[in-house]
């Protein structure tokens, strides 16, 4: 069971912590702690140091994306990046793919005997 002085010290520490976290005038809080009988002066530095040290830490974006994908079953990495590209990029890529396929087919259909023809012509040509 806490004694009266303990409870007083607990309340004062609580108020001091809240004040420091709210960035109230530190000098006033320190002066107040000096005059109070709770003897809080020695805690000011510790509370301030804790306030500075215990900050939010940003996780690695790659880690957060990967974990989200694992949890929600989404694609991540290259596939996700491709899917997030604008529609005009998708259309341009599709057109380029179709054009490439057409070119390949045309070469197969109309230009497949071209190398043999050249060879035959080379043989037929007298020296």
């Amino acid at each position: 069971m806490s004694s009266q002085s303990d409870m007083k010290a607990q309340d004062a520490l609580d108020a001091l912590t809240a004040g420091l976290q709210a960035r109230e005038n530190v000098e006033d809080l320190i002066a107040e702690s000096r005059t109070s009988s709770a003897g809080l002066e020695e805690f000011v530095e510790i509370i301030q140091a804790l306030h500075n040290a215990c900050a939010l830490v940003e996780p690695d974006p790659e880690f957060s994306d990967r974990l989200r994908a694992d949890l929600l079953g989404e694609q991540h990495g290259m596939v996700k990046r491709v899917r997030q590209m604008p529609a005009r990029v998708h259309i341009a890529a599709a057109l380029a793919l179709i054009a490439g396929c057409l070119l390949f087919m045309m070469r197969r259909l109309f230009g497949s005997d071209a190398p043999e023809q050249i060879q035959e012509e080379a043989i037929a040509t007298p020296l």
């Binding site: 806490s2 020695e42 500075n52 040290a53 215990c54 900050a55 694992d70 949890l71």
Partner: protein
């Protein structure tokens, strides 16, 4: 399709309890909860473990467990945030038990962390005093570490911390007082030891 996008767009306007109800059947709602709490849970775990590798591993476990158990979660006076912190606390406690030792930052991890470009400036420039302070925090019993991190990272009130830790507001206030006293004594002891070590050399 239209409804789907309308609902997706409004996720950020929903409070936690509404999102939790949706998240039982809708993965995207859980995704919103994940976005809200990832940084907080990661920070909590990071400060408890002291290194990035374990912090990532344990944070992943926290969210995996939350995701697999959200169907059973019911808000009976325990808000989602408090539930998530309880999961984090249990996972970190088990990890400490498995490690069989109080975690003190390994040199490699400390160097890696200091060099890590993603780390915020204030951490990269963390002074030696701050490092000693955090090491002293990690030497405290688990419940005291939890209290300090919730108070200083989350800036939670004693009542909110009490909900997470299953104690009364008065008990938290008293524990905070005892924690600061223990921390002060530990830091004084360490400072004295360093001073004596320095004079002996």
């Amino acid at each position: 399709m239209k409804n789907f996008f309308a609902r997706r767009g409004s996720y950020d306007e929903l409070d936690d309890s509404a999102l939790v109800k949706l998240a039982k059947e809708d993965k995207q709602a859980f995704g919103e909860l994940y976005s809200r709490y990832l940084k907080k849970i990661y920070s909590y775990v990071y400060h408890r473990t002291g290194n990035t590798h374990d912090a990532e591993d344990l944070t992943a476990k926290v969210f995996m467990r939350a995701f697999s158990h959200i169907g059973n979660y019911e808000d009976r006076g325990l808000p989602f945030q408090a539930w998530l912190y309880r999961i984090a606390h249990n996972i970190v406690a088990n990890w400490h038990r498995d490690q069989g030792r109080r975690k003190i930052i390994a040199l490699d991890d400390y160097v890696a962390h200091s060099l890590k470009s993603e780390a915020p400036d204030h951490l990269a420039e963390e002074s030696e005093e701050q490092t000693q302070l955090m090491e002293a925090v990690r030497r405290l019993p688990e419940d005291r570490q939890q209290l300090l991190l919730l108070k200083f990272i989350e800036q939670m009130s004693n009542a909110e911390i009490g909900v997470i830790m299953g104690r009364t507001e008065g008990a938290i206030k008293s524990l905070y007082h005892r924690t600061l006293l223990a921390l002060r004594d530990d830091l004084q002891l360490m400072s004295e030891a360093r001073r004596l070590g320095g004079t002996e050399v």
